[in-house]
Amino acid sequence: MSIALFVARRLGRGLVTILFAVTVTFLLLRLLPGDPALAVASPNTTDEAREALLVQYGLDRPLIVQYVLYLGQLLQGDLGTSFTQSVPVVDVLLERLPWTLLLTVTSLVLTVVIGIPLGVLAAAHEHRFLDRFVQVVGVTGQSLFVPSIGIVLLLVFGLALGWFPIGGATGDNVYGAAWYGSVVAHLVLPAVSLTLIQLGSYVLTMRGTLIDALAADHVTLARANGLPYRRILWKHALRNALLPATTLIGLQLGFVVGGAVLTETVFAYPGIGRGIYEAVTQLDFPVLQGAFLLLAVTVVVVNMLTDIAYGFLDPRVKAS
């Protein structure tokens, strides 16, 4: 199969996945109890005024009409207007997107940078104390729940020690170079929380695949040839073991996005996740549709890139 055909197929699958995500999101939101007019109107609003709001939001039309109109808007690159804020959804998302990117990318980098060496360390010391210790840490990390970690970190490092701020992404009225210091200080606790919950998967996957790789024939041959163990580990075994870890980055992205929603909520971090939380309480359909579309596209694109990268890294995948 040519590279062009391979990429085209992945693109096609990605588009179908996005259409599926758009449709499911659209339908699920309309299955939610309550209606957006009730969520935003004051208690003394009359039924007529509520109905007028529904008309204004376009929710008085049949579902299929709403769906077709929504798809038409999307094809023109229009995500609609927020019910509650009366501003374009694109503006709402663009204000929040940089913070979510900063948080998720930072935690992904931290996870890979810490997780892979820890996995190597465990595999190199298989069945010894260090291996068991790393496994316990990995399994514990997988079992953790963001809000629980968040509260502990806030209590210890925010309140008791006072090292980091309690919430937000920057301090008030901080400008120039000081702004970067403030951003980093506010990023530490949410990024650590998000890293801790992902770390286990990387450590355990890396450990398992590296142990398999270390048992492979070419590694045995390298040993028989008298190559130093460190060189065998890092040059011969690790290269093969890295392939599943590459896949894991793509697979984990959805998990990271889900984790980001909780993390941003716990730490009042002003990203898309916190925006979703607030839009759900207000039943702001356009913002929710836009946010989920953005997240779906991100996950699909990263998975697609991972697939394509995998295809380049391992010719057997492309051939199949």
Binding site: N44, G167, D172, N173, G176, A177
Partner: protein, 540 residues
Amino acid sequence: MRLRRAGAIVGAVAVVIALGACAPQAPPGASTDPEADGGTLRIATTTDVVNFNPLIGNSRSDSWVTGLMYPRLLSVGDDGSKQPELATGWGYVDETTGWYEIRDDMTWSDGRPLTADDVAWTMNAVKRDAPSGTFTGQLTNFESAEAVSGTRVEIALTQPDSSVVEEIGFWGTIVPRHVFEPEGSVADFANAGGDDGWVGAGPFVLTQVQVGQSYTLERHEDYPLVEGGRAEAARVVYRVYPDINTEILALRSGEVDLIANSLPPAQVDRLADTDGVEVAEVTGLGYSHMTYNMDQPDLARTEVRQALAHAVDYDAIREVVLQGQAVSTLSSPLMPVLTDYHDDSGTEYEHDPDLAGELMESAGYVRGADGRFPVSFRMIYPLQDPVTSQWAQLVQDGAAEAGITLDLQGTERNTYLAQTQQGDYDIYAGNFAIMDDPMTNFALSYLPGGAINYTHVDDPELSALIERAARTFDEEAKIALMQEAAALVQEEVYDNVMYTQNLYLAHSSEWTGFVSKPSELLSLVNPVSIASAHRVPEQS
């Protein structure tokens, strides 16, 4: 090698310069040194501001932040009576014409005077465009407003209404005509600041928004409602936190100076004993209640509603769940805080499970072998309200003691609102944050078709009393009619009003001078309070 190193240094410097250029710069109008000129008051809230247009917004954060920019005609005292704010006088020319006299010394932050024209235009625009905020709901009997002079506004009513002048005055927020009119419908205008920023006439004006985390307001140098003619603090920053517990952490760590949300009962004593924190009591102006849906045939019977009312242990709710931080309303919708209206000779429904059982038997219900009557009722309540969630359990236990089965259905907010609106419940449990005007409250709660008539009551005698009170301009006669109506509500259990919760707010002991107003809407964060707050002078 040297070349590569030099390239790396040049690259690093370029990155630093590029990053420096990307960092945000101070917005125009920001104080250069707020700490030297009154300081920055940092306030915690739990939700973002959704709307900067005060005519649309309904959330607490919307009201608190926009309330610092856009004045109301009237404020409210601890007894629910209306007090002057932008308006210095108000009343009726005749039964269908009201008037307000407004201050002549208020200016918008762009230097233009705030006149009666702004007031009249705002009222007419809200009537015309019907934005979703609370103001619109007050304009049912409002026809139009006219600025008859620079400081006097007269409003024409569609029918006699003895409450509407005060209600419009309190709930109506005044916006600058010269900013809002060019934007078309006030129901659609986002008021997002634009290129020229915000224009307000309150003690502070918004200058910077960091979505999801903070809202910065700078002092408006002309605010004659406080001593000195301007606010004490140079700047106010509202910061957003996910919940009250995180807000408390932020207060204790010194990240904020005041929590705008009232404290949960269990946190009050704990925080009062915390160094560096002070807890202030604020009068509640709302109530918690249960209503029995009379569309349900069993609940249409007075004895059944009375039985349910006598099955509740009200003292336990107030003492255990609310830790004594609540006042009995004596089962009347005319709460004790409304001193002119409250009848203190009344008595609360007695907690008497035996009497409740007898009332059920007198209504023809026969206990089964298990001692239970063959009826069950579904009670809805909002899960996000921990206090109601707790007392709902006590209500269920009390009913069980009387042989009546209650099925509790706690749901998230939107489901709860939908169930309420559709009448999809037997018993509704909830609370109203602010019931400042008894007349309006009675009309909305007990007239057929009233927006919050959750009992679905349609009693001609009660309706006649309420409608007569609405047309009565003599205060004493109106109070007498309202008390008669309240007695009927209690006797027939058209509403089971249980308590008014006292509110407690926490602030740093480094700040003082707050001016408390009733209800969580105003509390310590009303504009006069925030303008009066100042740092405690350092002891030399």
